[in-house]
């Protein structure tokens, strides 16, 4: 067994044992960190590996949240299955968006702006769509029904989030070693060279967006089941997109562990700054946000490849 595998298994064992020692509040903080890590990993598939810097992933996140919720409320379909339906739907929307965008050879910053626009349009539609209750949003009942993905305690949510992150890491590692993953990397590094080498770049980019969109939708469904309330203002805003980008860019884009590292660090830091041992006045809150922002800037300036490059640097040294 390699040292890396042993380290991974030890980390997994420690993570699996966390609920035994953590209280409900700490467990929520862990769930929030895992959820952020999962989102970052899902966005990383398109932005990190394939270099498709989407700013509209909140759209796919929102589709996941609304699809599993509406299927449950209208058809009684358990969200365990509904989240897969949401993923398929988000994947199809992602593919359709990519086909349209790449058809007109939209790249780089313009691609980012188009995806941002798509998410804005989706929010506008959701705000005015009575069937999904517009801006009022949808409430889910708080109950204990494991078969329907409802729990009163935090532990089951924690294990679901942990399983999602582990699965997403395995998918990322598998992708890195696959032919498709190599196509993604080739597109990211030099699209013209990749095309000259025989890579169907349009297809690779479309698959990257579709796959990333489908994976992102699971995070949206998880949000709905965990917070039991969704509205365009909570799932179709820029906030989830920001979480995905922060974790990925801070941890290291285009790697399987960087987004996890970045998300966990920033979620943990945010949580620690909310937990300062003195009176939580407005000045303290604003001060702690400043510290958060300064740290982010420092990391981005001195570690442009993300925290994951720290390990590589120390190995080189």
């Amino acid at each position: 067994m390699s040292a890396r595998l042993a380290l991974g298994l030890a980390a997994l064992a420690a993570a699996a044992a966390a609920p035994l020692v953590a209280g409900q509040h700490l467990l929520t903080a862990f769930i929030v960190a895992l959820h952020a890590a999962y989102m970052a990993l899902a966005w990383n598939v398109a932005a990190g590996y394939a270099g498709q810097f989407s700013l509209g992933h909140s759209l796919f996140y929102g589709i996941g949240a609304y699809a599993s919720t509406m299927l449950y409320l209208k058809l009684g379909l358990t969200p365990w299955a509904g989240m897969f339906a949401g993923a398929v739907l988000a994947g199809l929307v992602g593919v359709a968006l990519a086909l349209g965008v790449y058809r007109y050879n939209v790249r780089g910053i313009f691609f980012a702006l188009v995806t941002l626009g798509a998410a804005e349009v989706a929010k506008g539609l959701a705000d005015n769509w009575d069937w999904i209750k517009g801006p009022v949003g949808i409430l889910l009942t708080m109950k204990n029904a494991p078969g329907e993905f409802f729990f009163l305690r935090r532990e089951p949510y924690y294990y679901v989030a942990l399983a999602m992150v582990v699965a997403m890491i395995l998918i990322s590692l598998r992708l890195e070693r696959s032919r498709l993953g190599q196509y993604f990397l080739a597109v990211r590094e030099d699209e013209a060279a990749a095309e000259a080498s025989g890579v169907d770049t349009h297809r690779a980019k479309t698959v990257a967006i579709g796959l990333s969109a489908a994976l992102t939708a699971f995070a949206g469904s998880f949000y709905a089941q965990f917070y039991l309330y969704i509205s365009p203002d909570t799932v179709l805003v820029f906030e989830p997109q920001l979480t995905m980008m922060l974790g990925t860019m801070v941890g290291g884009a285009g790697t399987a562990l960087g987004p996890v590292l970045g998300s966990v660090l920033f979620s943990g830091l945010g949580e620690a700054l909310r937990n300062l041992p003195f009176e939580n006045t407005r000045q303290v809150v604003i001060g702690s946000k400043l510290v958060y922002a300064i740290l982010l800037i420092v990391i981005l300036i001195y570690l442009p490849g993300g925290l994951i490059t720290l390990g590589r640097r120390s190995r080189r040294a």
């Binding site: 929520t28 039991l228 407005r282 809150v285």
Partner: protein, 412 residues
């Protein structure tokens, strides 16, 4: 250096040990502090409201502590804590858990309906009483929760107060208005205000010709809406808007010389200091609603408002009145429960019977909770603005004046 003898060492050690053992017993004889939490926005879009709620809540706790604490708990002191929601529902949920972990026996918050929906779920799960005083969305009390209580009326009640008053004005002057339009932001409360207005308009016999919502974060120009209402001959325009939007809408009405017979707001921006300061005379004769007024005859209000102003260097407003109100319910219930057990406190809150003015309860017209947690006595006030002041015009028992009817034209 003076040497210590063995006898002295044994004696002092024994004294120290006895002191160590006795100290917890002596401390135990004193009443324990009672932690109360305010989960409000100190940062983000709702920060101004959150800060005012916290100001009032904190002041309430300090005043009770100065008067000797909670008497039924042997003079136990209140220990208020504030936790920032960052104006985000997810953070409100996690902060509620933190408050529970820190031992809060009851919670108030959050001035943001979406955040309150998430926070009250946690409070219900952890069996901690949650009293909200300013959130008006009906969803909050629609879930059959046992630990969630609301003192203020819901948004529909405010819409009814406003439109009923306008109807009375029309009837008493022989100049009735029928054509109604609503223009609200697309927040959870804004959308609820539109739905509520539909129902109330039907009930009161109005003709609702337009019902629009707009995205508050993106809309800077209201000319298209106002032109439409002017063209359609809308006689009454109402809405739930943020202060900056309410200012822009009013200015646009003036610019386009649109003169409805009545213009008013359902809660929100029209009762904010920002609104009257930004518009000065242009805010005159605008109607608005809340569940509190600085000019209402509420026992103890003047003294409390002065103390608030002295401490925070700003006027007490309806949001800070909400903070005092939530605090009053918790203070009264703690005295009656004589216990910090959360379930007993919840039962005491459910049995609340408070009059306005009693124990710093500032909202009208007292509190008596239904099984749903809704306040059966809750009621609102209608105001007209005159020279940057809100003057109560309805209900009759609190009225200080009658609103101008129809609203004077711009420049009149």
């Amino acid at each position: 250096m003076a040497r210590i003898t063995r006898r002295e060492f044994v004696r002092s050690s024994a004294l120290a040990a006895a002191g160590t053992m006795l100290a917890p017993c002596l401390a135990g004889a004193q009443a324990k502090d009672v932690p109360l939490a305010a989960i409000v926005a100190l940062t983000g879009t709702n920060a101004a409201w959150g800060q005012r709620t916290w100001n009032a809540f904190q002041q309430g706790c300090d005043m009770v502590n100065e008067q000797g604490g909670i008497k039924s708990l042997g003079g136990a002191k209140l220990k208020p804590m504030v936790l920032d929601t960052e104006s985000r529902p997810e953070v409100a949920g996690s902060q509620t858990e933190r408050a529970v972990q820190r031992g809060a026996v009851a919670i108030t918050g959050t001035n943001q309906s979406a955040a309150t929906i998430v926070a009250t779920q946690i409070a219900e799960r952890e069996a901690v009483p949650f009293v909200c005083a300013t959130d008006v969305d009906p969803l909050i009390t629609s879930r059959g929760f046992k630990f969630t209580f609301r003192t203020s009326p819901i948004v529909e009640s405010y819409a009814r107060d406003l439109l009923a008053y306008v109807k009375d004005l029309g009837a008493s002057t022989g100049k009735p208005a029928r054509k109604l339009a609503i223009l609200s932001e697309n927040s959870i409360v804004g959308q609820s205000s539109v739905e509520a207005t539909r129902r109330v308009a039907k009930e009161l016999g109005y003709d609702l010709v337009e019902a629009d919502t707009y995205d508050a974060s993106k809309t800077q120009n209201f000319a298209s809406y106002i032109s439409k209402y002017k063209g359609a001959g809308v006689e009454i325009l109402i809405g739930h808007n943020k202060p900056s939007d309410a200012v822009l809408i009013t200015r646009t009405m003036k610019e386009l010389n649109y003169n409805p017979m009545a213009y008013g707001g359902i809660l929100g921006g029209h009762v904010s200091t920002e609104y009257v300061n930004a518009l000065d005379k242009d805010a005159d004769h605008v109607l608005c609603t809340t569940s509190w007024s600085g000019d209402a005859d509420i026992p103890g209000l003047k003294d409390l408002a002065k103390k608030y102003q002295d401490r925070y260097k700003e006027h007490m407003d309806s949001t800070s009145a909400g903070g005092f109100t939530a605090f009053a319910v918790l203070w009264d219930s703690l005295e009656r429960a004589g216990s910090t057990d959360r379930k007993r406190l919840r039962d005491a809150i459910a049995a609340t019977s408070l009059k306005t003015g009693e124990k710093m309860y500032m909202q009208l017209r007292g509190a008596k909770f239904l099984a749903t947690g809704e306040n059966s006595l809750a009621g609102g006030l209608v105001f007209t603005i005159r020279s940057k002041e809100w003057v109560t015009v309805a209900p009759k028992e609190y009225a200080k004046a009658t609103a101008a009817w129809p609203k004077p034209k711009w420049g009149a």
